[in-house]
Symmetry: C2
């Protein structure tokens, strides 16, 4: 057997680190799904110990030596391995920028923050959470500051952004969000007015949780989620998708009186899960086999949730599936037309995760503006609540009844996930752009949804997105799949088509609305 | 703040290693309770990565330096910290004896062995498992050999034994097992004959799994299992108890036609769980806060299962609890007398985990004899099946129908747990000895069980066993709690009292039966 090269040793080390990350992810799922309340401190100790071990494994002096040696020999590697090596270096730079103490603090904030968030969100108790939020943002700023020089970026926020949506700078995001900012308010106004002119949809009846779960399982299987390599669990909290490529866990909440919540949680999380399950097996546990960032991950959940499953064809399939699951052959509220009226709405609301697709970007752009200002030192913790309320009032004309439905509604900030939020709207943009390309390449995609046949869409995504892992940078993946880099025009066109019944043409749209400044 | 001493740094490192062990334990529970079948390879990768990280954390050169420095300064530490430091060194010796590759192989065998065992046990397919068993024993021998010199012991098996039941040498075990070997056959013969003279017990009715689970939960709570720091799950496989002190997971199987299986699984596993939950909080995550070995752990499950819960007083409580759970006010098979007849039996049988308390030690002593011979090179893999069948025939007069009910029935050997088995009978010995001391100190213990009141027993165990952690060596714990070191006479006396109705007196018992040689 030939002696192992530095690159071989790196692959082994990065696989070990990948496994440790997956272990922590499963432990976080267990904490949501199975763990008793009094066990939180033990669990925090475990995820910190894993984070600390990972940190040690990547900051060990031998890794730096292997990287130097492998990079000297880089030209001898196949192209995909060269890319893998570049991603190893990028990961190494991110991790080495942090001290062991800072890395452990990140794990602690993520683990403890979730418990605190759950405890205090329900009453919107900002007094109890203010110091924790401050600590989380201070830590995020310390991380960004530590990484700035190593990554060669100009602000702490830019460094954080690179962890979540690599390859997308805040300048790029500002430019794309500016288009949304310019044209979305007019689309929202017109869409809301059009909706108000439509008849009120019929309310849904209540259905037992077990029947809802069965319906959700049917949908996930139709989409192509592989339950031999994944588990669907019902929980009380926020739905999520975690685990490892061959062990995807997604959770969903079921409320008897609105089965559509469980249905669309399932479709969203299964979209994430299908991406993970279909990343390239040859690059499993290696950086090149990883997802391309949270923005692309989100594009895969949203292409299923809002692009494919808000279409009349899908609503016809959902009608049949729901009638069967609930044994309701004639119930009028389950008609495809009524389901479409209940789902395809445009109405300002408080909760991001429940927001319709027209107003969703407003929540995200406001989070982005605030977290960027917080991290870059342009906003203090005590200015934050007002910034949220003012922004929401300004953009959507509404004011939340309390902080739990306002700036404290999301788990990200108390868990230290700062720099994550723009990925949601970048994901919506990507979903619109990919769906346009997919349906152009395979015109049968939408019509087949009426039969519950997701295969044409899924195989196009397998070929053009999932199987690429991180072998291409995200802009290049978009270019190869759609002909151009990420472009917000596709999202504007999608919303205009679906809610205003006409294509979006920037020049022909209402003059940009300069009242609102995001970015 | 004073500079941290070498001992402080050791405490931090050992806590991290403890957390990693707990993380792996929870991942193993998840694999049993929640994971999909196709995810096994990912999970194996995770537990190997954790084992490898733990190995690296304890074999790092700084740990050796800290140990040397702390030992030089040992006299300055409080007595309990001195003991903690000694245990750190003992752990260090165990781990440092193994190469990283061997440590990873241990984790791989434990993870993969479980899946192979489950797959092939049902048909007793020895052809498929023979090579795996051989690999597991070869690996165990390699481990024992690597550790022998470092631990200053004479055989590879002795070194393995020290991992599971520290402080108990095979010479000690041989001496105690020789007493059982000498007197147990006569007790079994007489007990079986007495049982055969009794009327046949009434068979149980079938009860729904949900009602059984509710009954089991009631029992676990009565025993003092803290469900705020633990979870009870129902699974198909073998019951077990895992996790971390503040996150104890125990699993149980329920078969509708015999609710007593679930009941006694619960009592056994809750006994383990209560020990873990009540180890000294001040020494949590440190070696001195660990359990005292699998022999003492097993004493805590068996003191609940067979000492406390095979008594007429407990059967009267169980009758009431079962009548309530199953809504059966008059069903005759649920009478305390009938439950006692169903549980307190003496009858040779194939399956260790289902064996009655009279014949149980035969299974264990045979496993011990075989695994010792396998590890020390006195038996080959192809001699193993016959050794099992011959031993069982010789001692109990029965021959299993196939290997899955014979030498392949237990998960230990395919999972690399070699050196573990004697702990079961050492546990029974300890349980008999501790129960004798507890009921002498608090005569109300047994009578209170009739009311479902386990508090007198549990608090005695809290004070004398649980709260000691590993602060005392196991012999010393037994001496302080019972007045003498571990002694098999207590088990013989217990069995004689319960099944023959008279105390055991070695001199007055039948002449030792020299036909059988164990040890």
């Amino acid at each position: 057997m030939a002696a192992r090269t530095a690159y071989d040793l790196l692959k082994e080390r990065f696989a070990q680190i990948s496994h440790l990350g997956h272990a922590a992810s499963i432990l976080n799922v267990d904490a949501q799904v199975a763990m008793a309340a009094g066990s939180a401190a033990d669990r925090t100790g475990q995820v910190i110990a894993i984070a600390s071990a990972s940190h040690m494994l990547i900051t060990a002096p031998d890794v730096a030596q292997w990287l130097d040696a492998a990079e000297k020999d880089k030209a001898s590697l196949p192209a995909d391995d060269q890319r893998n090596l570049e991603l190893m270096r990028r990961n190494w730079v991110h991790v080495n920028a942090l001290s062991k103490e800072l890395a452990e603090e990140v794990a602690r904030i993520e683990s403890e923050g979730e418990h605190l968030h759950v405890e205090h969100k329900k009453n919107g108790d900002w007094v109890k959470m203010r110091d924790w939020y401050k600590h989380s943002f201070d830590t995020a700023r310390a991380i960004g500051t530590a990484k700035m020089a190593k990554l060669g970026v100009a602000t702490p926020y830019e460094a954080l952004l690179d962890s979540f949506s690599p390859g997308l700078t805040s300048a790029r995001i500002d430019a794309e969000f500016a288009k949304l900012q310019a044209h979305l308010p007019a689309i929202i106004r017109e869409a809301v007015a059009r909706q108000q002119a439509l008849p009120t949809p019929l309310p849904l009846k209540s259905y037992p949780v077990e029947q809802q779960v069965e319906l959700c399982r049917t949908l996930a299987l139709a989409m192509g989620f592989d339950t031999n390599r994944g588990v669907i669990s019902v929980i009380d909290g926020h739905p999520s998708c975690n685990g490892s490529p061959d062990d995807i866990r997604f959770t969903l909440g079921c409320t008897p009186e609105n089965f559509l919540e469980a249905v669309y949680s399932t479709i969203h999380e299964a979209g994430h899960g299908i991406y993970d399950q279909n990343r390239p097996a040859a690059w499993r546990y290696q950086p090149a086999g990883e997802h391309l960032g949270m923005n692309v991950h989100e594009s895969q959940s949203r292409i299923m949730e809002v692009q494919a499953c808000h279409t009349p064809a899908f609503f016809r399939f959902l009608e049949q599936a729901a009638r069967k699951a609930f044994n309701e052959p004639t119930e009028p509220s389950l008609s495809a037309a009524n389901l479409e009226r209940l789902i395809n709405t445009a109405q300002p609301s408080f909760i991001r995760t429940e927001a319709d697709e027209v107003t969703y970007a407003v929540h995200v752009m406001l989070r982005y503006r605030i977290e960027k200002a917080m991290v870059n030192g342009d906003m203090t913790i005590d200015e934050l609540p007002k910034a949220w309320n003012d922004g929401l009032k300004d953009m959507l004309g509404i004011t939340p009844p309390h902080a739990g439905q306002g700036h404290m509604q999301d788990v990200h900030w108390p868990c230290g996930l700062v720099g994550y939020f723009p990925a949601y709207t970048l994901g919506d943009m990507g979903a619109a752009q990919l769906y346009a390309a997919a349906t152009k390449a395979r015109p049968e995609i939408t019509a087949e949804l009426e039969k519950g046949n997701f295969t044409p869409l899924r195989t196009w995504l397998n070929d053009n997105v999932h199987s690429k892992g991180s072998l291409l940078p995200s802009d290049e993946m978009f270019r190869q799949a759609t002909g151009e880099a990420l472009n917000a025009d596709y999202l504007l066109n999608h919303l205009s088509q679906r809610y205003l019944g006409r294509p979006f043409v920037a020049a022909a749209a209402a003059a940009p609305d300069n009242k609102h400044k995001f970015g």
